[in-house]
């Protein structure tokens, strides 16, 4: 498709530095936007707005879709607590809180780190576990069948993909 040059020129955007020019523009059905520098950008016709709006929307579409493709735009790590094979609750890692898990365990989210702070189990392995973060990992209290795990974790940042014990 070939565009005649004058068409494009005729729909050009004028920065309102030239008073004469601006006057001439305002005579039509112009829309005026004020930029941060105090200079105003004047659109001559509705089509001029579309000139910016449509490619802008196309770019937005592209960003959202490519985000969906990588699955990374929505990384929002959550703490998921499992008791047995059931989900006990899901909590925001960004929100500091203390969570009671039944009568046996207590865990805590503090500055994006999750710890098991109390457990009535004999081995206390869960209490003596390295805190987990948004990078993934889990803390297990085997005697009480409780698992703290991070879902939607940012695995790429973690030093290891898993730990052999």
């Amino acid at each position: 498709m070939v565009f005649p040059e004058r068409t494009i020129a005729g729909n050009c955007v004028f920065l309102g530095t030239n008073n004469k020019e601006r006057k001439r523009d305002t005579a039509g059905s112009a829309v005026r936007l004020h930029s941060m520098t105090g200079k105003s950008i004047v659109f001559k016709k509705k089509a001029d707005i579309l000139l910016f709006l449509i490619p802008g929307m196309a770019a937005l579409c592209f960003l959202i879709l490519s985000g969906m493709r990588n699955g990374q735009t929505a990384v929002h790590p959550q703490l998921e607590i499992l008791t047995g094979n059931k989900v006990f609750g899901v909590y925001d890692l960004a929100e500091d809180q203390t969570i009671r898990i039944g009568d046996t365990n207590v865990c805590e989210i503090r500055d994006g780190e999750v710890r098991m702070t109390e457990a009535d189990c004999p081995d206390q392995i869960c209490v003596h576990s390295v805190p987990i973060t948004g990078e993934g990992g889990s803390i297990v209290c085997l005697p009480n069948h409780i698992v703290l795990r991070v879902t939607d974790a940012d695995h790429a940042k973690r030093e290891v993909d898993s730990i052999a014990e």
Binding site: K45, M57, F62, M68, N70, L82, D123, S138, E165
Partner: protein
């Protein structure tokens, strides 16, 4: 004239960008299929332990569910403590031997049962490693293990006469497998597949995933790490090795692997202290007590999950020198990371590798 011009403007600034964005969207959406497979991850509790699985595939959710279904199935076959499992039924055969399973009794003491392919092959592999270790790795140790009961809140050293009584029931040579037939020479013998069942199951999960066309997955089955292929971007998996006696989750050493497993055993896994002495859960079938060993931990890296699972325990039972000798003598295709009693780690690779 003016109307014409306006139409052209609409053509230029509305229709064209819309078309372009549609084309973009199309390529992006179709790209989903080839470039970045979907990820699904889940955690479940089976075999008294935690199973953590990450799968990368188009149908990742479906495959993840399939894996957990397989775990459930395997638990119903191989668990020594779940009362409805096939193994539990086999171990508690006394009094009602044959009827349930359509097996025939050959003599008063010898009992033969037909079992599932899965259970038969798992017992067969267990006996293979019992032979390899000269009986140190003994799959009939269950009565002794139940006596020590390391999972208990009040774990303590059992009385000597009780240890001797249960020890008399431990002897893998009284179990024979022929096809699907398992024969016991002694009605008192009980089987515990704890030393290899996890390896057997991760192997099975990986084989199934492979059959389904999956090329990237990570399985952590109660601390046994097993991976299928590479990460989706083609890079190797990084597997950390737990530091013995440190807080859970403390990484001591890192291994890079594709398509293989990293399996650790150690005295730090489960133990109790009594009178200033540490009693760990890896029992020596000769003495009836925790194995005397020069190792805190042995981590076996290889391609065969069952072998690596069994051999990591054999290392603790035998000590470093003897474990290295067995690995050489049997031509085992493994690398081992030993952590000695001095808390120093060292890699062993079989010569010629």
């Amino acid at each position: 004239m003016r109307q014409k011009c306006r139409n052209r403007i609409w053509m230029t600034f509305f229709i064209v960008p819309v078309l372009i964005s549609l084309v973009f969207a199309g390529t992006v959406m179709s790209g989903c299929g080839e470039k970045a497979p979907k990820e699904a991850s889940g955690t479940g509790m089976y075999f008294d332990t935690v199973v953590d699985i990450r799968i990368f595939a188009e149908n990742a959710d479906e495959l993840l569910q399939g894996c957990f279904d397989l775990c459930e199935e395997a638990e119903k076959t191989l668990s020594a403590h779940r009362e409805d499992s096939e193994l539990y039924q086999l171990n508690h055969r006394k009094g009602q031997p044959a009827e349930n399973r359509g097996a025939e009794e050959a003599s008063s003491d010898t009992q033969t049962f037909e079992v599932s392919e899965e259970l038969a092959s798992c017992i067969r592999r267990g006996l293979e490693y019992a032979e390899m270790s000269g009986g140190k790795f003994d799959i009939t140790i269950l009565p002794l293990r139940d006596l020590w009961d390391f999972e208990s809140e009040n774990a303590a050293v059992p009385e000597q006469d009780k240890i001797e009584k249960e020890l008399a029931r431990v002897d893998y040579r009284k179990v024979h497998v022929d096809g699907l037939k398992v024969t016991f020479d002694d009605p008192e013998t009980q089987i515990d597949l704890g030393g290899i069942a996890k390896g057997y199951i991760s192997d099975r999960l990986k084989n199934w995933l492979r059959e389904q066309g999956c090329t990237s997955a990570l399985i952590n089955l109660g601390g046994n790490v097993s991976v299928l292929g590479t990460k989706p971007d083609g890079s190797s998996w990084n597997v950390g090795i737990q530091e013995p006696f440190a807080d859970r989750g403390t990484v001591f050493e890192t291994v890079e692997i594709d398509d293989g497993c990293v399996i650790s055993s150690g005295t730090y896994e489960r133990y109790f202290e009594q009178d200033g002495q540490l009693y760990h859960h890896i029992l020596d079938p000769v003495t009836g007590y925790p194995a005397v060993t020069d190792l805190q931990q042995a981590t076996v890296v290889g391609k065969d999950d069952v072998l690596c699972d069994a051999f990591s325990t054999i290392c603790i039972l035998e000590g470093q020198e003897e474990a290295e000798r067995i690995a050489e003598a049997n031509g085992l295709n493994v690398r081992i990371y030993f952590v000695g009693a001095d808390h120093e780690g060292a890699w062993f690779s079989r010569s010629g590798q």
